[in-house]
Subunit: 300 residues, 6 copies
């Protein structure tokens, strides 16, 4: 069982698998460098978590001097790992010359590091929001250690910052890392305010052009999606605003589906399993009218 | 790309990120020790799986003498790893003095190990239930190797046992490990009887105060949730019984949503996509009355 | 905290945990060899990904000579790892004598390797389909790097090929690896044509006897399930065709549930949240009639 | 720096390096299987150390029940790893048919395991001898933890046992592992009695046909070598007894060189830097006559 | 080949190997805790190298702020790893009560950390001395990267400091780690001054009670040994001063052997292969008188 | 024991250890990049061994097509790892501008790869020579697997080729890796012909300007050293030819010391423990005249 038999069939399979298909050839952005690596981006996210929650994912220190040692070391590692991945991603940006890529990657990484204090501030508002929403949690630490939304938001807020800096491809990979771990799928293009909470979360989808205010809470299975696509002349869908706007202080219960460029006005509540495709004004309470129905559906 | 440039900006970022925010300060339970580590708890769960399913996740032996060697070694490792994590978690228990923590952690770990034979017995009832529910499976071994519900139930039954022993925080982390891997989110506080089966499972949510009898089967996307929260005088939600009671021999099909402290009587069937907020008696069959509807909705 | 105290209780626990329960004894297929290992199958899937997408998960080369070196090396590793796992799985096949297992495992592994060029071709149609469906993606490379459906389809198409070769157990384990990572649960028994796309994907369930044509697109939360089971004389469900047939060019939107051995005719569109249990002809558009309803349900 | 340029030169280098030289072709013992792996043999030696010194290299237990768990688990691992390496080594044995190799490897591994209790007994005599020789050591535990001779003797006694069982090649590899770590080069063919001690040890060479009695002590840089070789008709040196016989209770001080098939009689002492090529009777004290010399050589 | 056959023989072997021999029982210092682990001490030495040569074994920074971050983080790691090992080693100290061990281990680790700046200073004098002795080296960096004496002296100066603090066993293990890697065997009890250089080094032995001044240089194969042992009434050798005193500015060439409590006066040179057992005054040049001899020994 | 106490002492220690000493400042070659990493060079040497002995350290294949796949993949990895290390080493070359370093590193790595077929040819002559010298070895394969001289010569021939290409520092590090593993210390500057054999080897030292012909054999402890140094006006030793020239077909037995720029004529034999500081003509046999002496030194 040690060794594959080497014969005509094997050599033909190698040859077939080495040929690039027409799709593959179209796929290459340019040049021959490597693509961004998932492993490098996972390491970047671990470092970012250790930087913004230094007591949880790296080490715990009340003392500020030692804490700053850890943060300095982690920032240097993050710079080294992330700038390498950004360099690879910039091959997807056709406006750059080959010899500009290196400098641009360094510049963008430093710009991103400048965003980290604000990202940290925002993440702690999310933690506070989650704490305030769940009777099953006793303190902030438990939220950070146990709630999938925290991992989801670290990745989203990082991906969103990188997207705004113009980094290609990487934001989407970072989103998918969180999607895979939590079942929460937030497109990095979405705009999300402070104090955002998601409970349970599996199956949540937040589309690319969604805009979400402050103090918004959503539950598992909620979709903020597009109703349909506008196609361009080649039949490829056009990337225009097509997802909902959710204003401040809105709560959306489990499995609600909100589709299209509509607005859910501030202080509204959208009930579980609701299917919503038109705007509702501030203070709305959109609930299942079916509550009485089940009795009628029962057979016993 | 090797090294981050060291300048005023970098030093200011380090300083900003080292400062603890007001939220962080509130968050600390006490002292300066480490928090429980996710890695240590993952290792504990691997050891528990190797102990309860010794033929699957460690090694296969018909011979009882050698099998007991593996179990002895794994129990010693489990004691060492888990007692360390419990010690860290006990910092969240304000009723303990610092110097009681060590002994209490050892005591609780031994107590938990005493529960393992019963946990093993319960898990094999779950395996048997799963086998009896799925026409696509040929034997028990395949259930243990392939079904996400098995991982989910190992973690739930462990987390539940630790919660009942009074271990803080860790039960929730263990639940989330399974939630992340399977998309099944079972709060460790739920009470679940023997022969429990979940098929597919993604999106299942079982809330903290749910009570589930024996021989219950549920499918993907089922929510056993709270209808709404009672807030205390500070506006923080109160942790009271608020999730459903599911009696023996109940089957709940995919994406059904059952909310509030209601009771689903024994031998009932809840159909797919049902939204249920009131109790139903034993032997109920709550089904979609919509089956005829779609025809009316079709346009072709 | 280093060492577990060795006393009567510990020795009794070891003894209890070493005994095999009646279920365990029934579970053993035969002999004393190891079960297939999840780790070995994960490694096999990594090698298959590196072989079919050589620029992404291993290294990027325009040059065909070097690319073929990588593919040759990875094929040899795949042969070694996968044949070992297949040998273990063949213990579940009662028609083989012990001494036939080794040769059969080698033969099946080589047969599977012969399928790889076709699997690669099919996967690139899936990538192209996904690219054509999502306005948020800029090029093929991004699809391969970022979309969970790609991981899902690599595992499904591998598992399906192994199942058709008659390999026991392993196809199901491979499916579950993708299910865990993506929330997309495709039974390896399902038949799926070319150009298959799934967007977001969390909560998708595609049952064992589903048949899906070419150019089909589905969204998150879609279930292609069984309506109910036929039980055999022992009360065990019978494995007969019981899942839907989806013809070419069908699109099924989020959270639609399609149950039973019904046919969705070609060029149909099934809207989000639709519950469908009867066949619909070609060109159908089954949409929510509820779109006007929500207004009626709102209270503000 | 990521990628090697692919050009004619590279392809020619690959081609040149892929060709096997005449020496390589002569080198192959037969067939196409793998050679024994150094990594597998290192792992075997770690397991053997954990088995014979269970308190040091694995875990410490006074309790015999738990200790036997560790030993059972380690014996099973050792069997699995070492039998694989022996199978590979048996390709060097031309008297075996291809299909006998597997059974012979299992048989030899079990035979070796039967030797382990005696190997353990001998090693503890070596530890005791070392303890009795060095004023700088306080207890037996320190000898096992700190003295290179212990590693050297574990490997020698293992290699010697395997050699006597007729295992090809592996004994020499195991010797070299100890030689590399300690600078002590003991050929596995040497015969060494009980209570053998080496202090410091760097540069010690003990040739293939050396015979050493009980309670012998040697120091760094001692050579027990051959004086010259007898060549066969092809000019290849003949493997006949050509190294010294050292009888019981002999001490040999640093850098002494003892060459040829001579006998050092029991209770003798050989002084540092001595060059000895003829037998000496029991009770000899062979010392440097140069002690007075240095004064004569000084210039100041 | 997967599994060892379980039969009477195996169970008897497990039983034999689990029994502790009389030597083992004598060996135990007390209690049941673990012995110091070689792995933990290797990690400690890596951290110490990263702290004293921060540009070489960890990262290179001209900037003092970032460098201090690395040193802070490494000191914390060192404290955690080394204090654990010291706690284990203190079981060998019979003057301590069980409950004093923990505090004493912490205290000794902190004391050792206080020595690190002085150890660093001394090591840089050794580097400078080496640089000044070898025409084949171009700069200080090359000395640190390439010369085995540097590894040897890091371990010696660490082991010596720990020995002076009264830490049992560990100093000897640390010495042996360097001995194994370099062939240079320096007993941690030796006293060695500043600017110490060893070239090549294989086979050097420096005994426990040696005293070496400043600016001393030695070459490969040099022994500073004991001439003979004084035995106590039990026949166990007594640990009294028995190795040479080497004063400042002495050079000792390759393979010289200097034995007994003699003094080599300052500014002396001891030639290669010299055997010296009596003191020589300052400024001596002890050289081979044999230089003319070889001619006489030649036969051609 | 988890956390170091943070107090004034700790902060002062961090500060002291972060300051660079005068020696450190002199040490920096230039700029702020990293030094070559030992880990990267170890990986390079593993790849080179897998390339020149493809059946031993990587995989065994008689088939040339598959073998060339392994070699292609390993050459690409070697290029990537080694060029990175060479780039770091070129900081030590003051004649290069910062922006020339990258191209020069790539150029030198390719040049080195062009040398690999010749290095492979030479290494197989060394294997053949070793085989012809040792009666204890049965076939070529055993030489490659077991003899430290093979590791020593792979590293020497690599280091020598890199040195001749003008790569700074790295050749010396590679030499030291072999010195540490084998106790054989060959300076990369030495010139060594074909069919070179070293038996046992511990303690061998071959100086920087040694010149060794073809078919030379040496034994453990042999030194080819310098007699004394010429100092420049700063008192730093000058790097001029100062080590022996050993002509073809010379054998040098254990622990012989040959010093200074002398010539050992072809076909000579130098006996064990000989101290030689003047040239000897071709065909000399320089042997110990002491053979009769020991009798005179014996006391019994």
């Amino acid at each position: 069982m040690d060794r594959i038999p080497v014969d005509e069939t094997l050599l033909r399979n190698i040859s077939l698998l080495s040929a690039s298909s027409p799709q593959e050839r179209r796929m290459v952005p340019r040049g021959t460098g490597s693509f961004p690596s998932v492993k490098g981006l996972e390491e970047s996210m671990s470092l970012i978590k250790a930087i913004v929650f230094p007591d949880f994912f790296d080490s715990r220190r009340n003392n500020r001097e030692i804490r700053s040692c850890y943060i300095g070391v982690n920032l240097e590692k993050l710079y080294s790992v992330l700038s390498q991945e950004i360099k690879r991603a910039l091959r997807f940006d056709n406006t750059l010359e080959e010899d500009e890529v290196y400098c641009e990657a360094c510049r963008l990484t430093l710009k991103f590091i400048d965003e980290l204090p604000e990202i940290k501030r925002l993440l702690f508002t999310d933690v506070e929001a989650m704490y305030n929403n769940d009777p099953a949690v006793d303190n902030y630490a438990e939220v950070i250690l146990c709630y999938p939304v925290v991992q989801s938001m670290v990745n989203y807020r990082t991906a969103h910052a990188l997207l705004k800096l113009g980094v290609p491809v990487i934001p989407r990979v970072i989103s998918e890392l969180a999607h895979s771990a939590t079942g929460i799928d937030i497109n990095p293009g979405a705009e999300i305010g402070e104090y955002f909470a998601i409970d349970h979360g599996t199956g949540v989808v937040i589309g690319e052009t969604s805009i979400i205010g402050n103090h918004v809470t959503i539950y598992q299975g909620v979709t903020l999606g597009a109703k349909n696509f506008t196609l361009d002349s080649n039949g490829h869908p056009v990337n225009i605003p097509r997802h909902p706007i959710i204003e401040d202080n809105v709560t959306i219960y489990a499995n609600a589906t909100i589709l299209g460029r509509i607005t859910v006005g501030r202080d509204s509540v959208i009930g579980g399993n609701i299917w919503l495709t038109q705007s509702v004004p501030a203070g709305s309470r959109v609930l299942q009218s079916r509550t009485p129905e089940p009795a009628g559906e029962m057979k016993y």
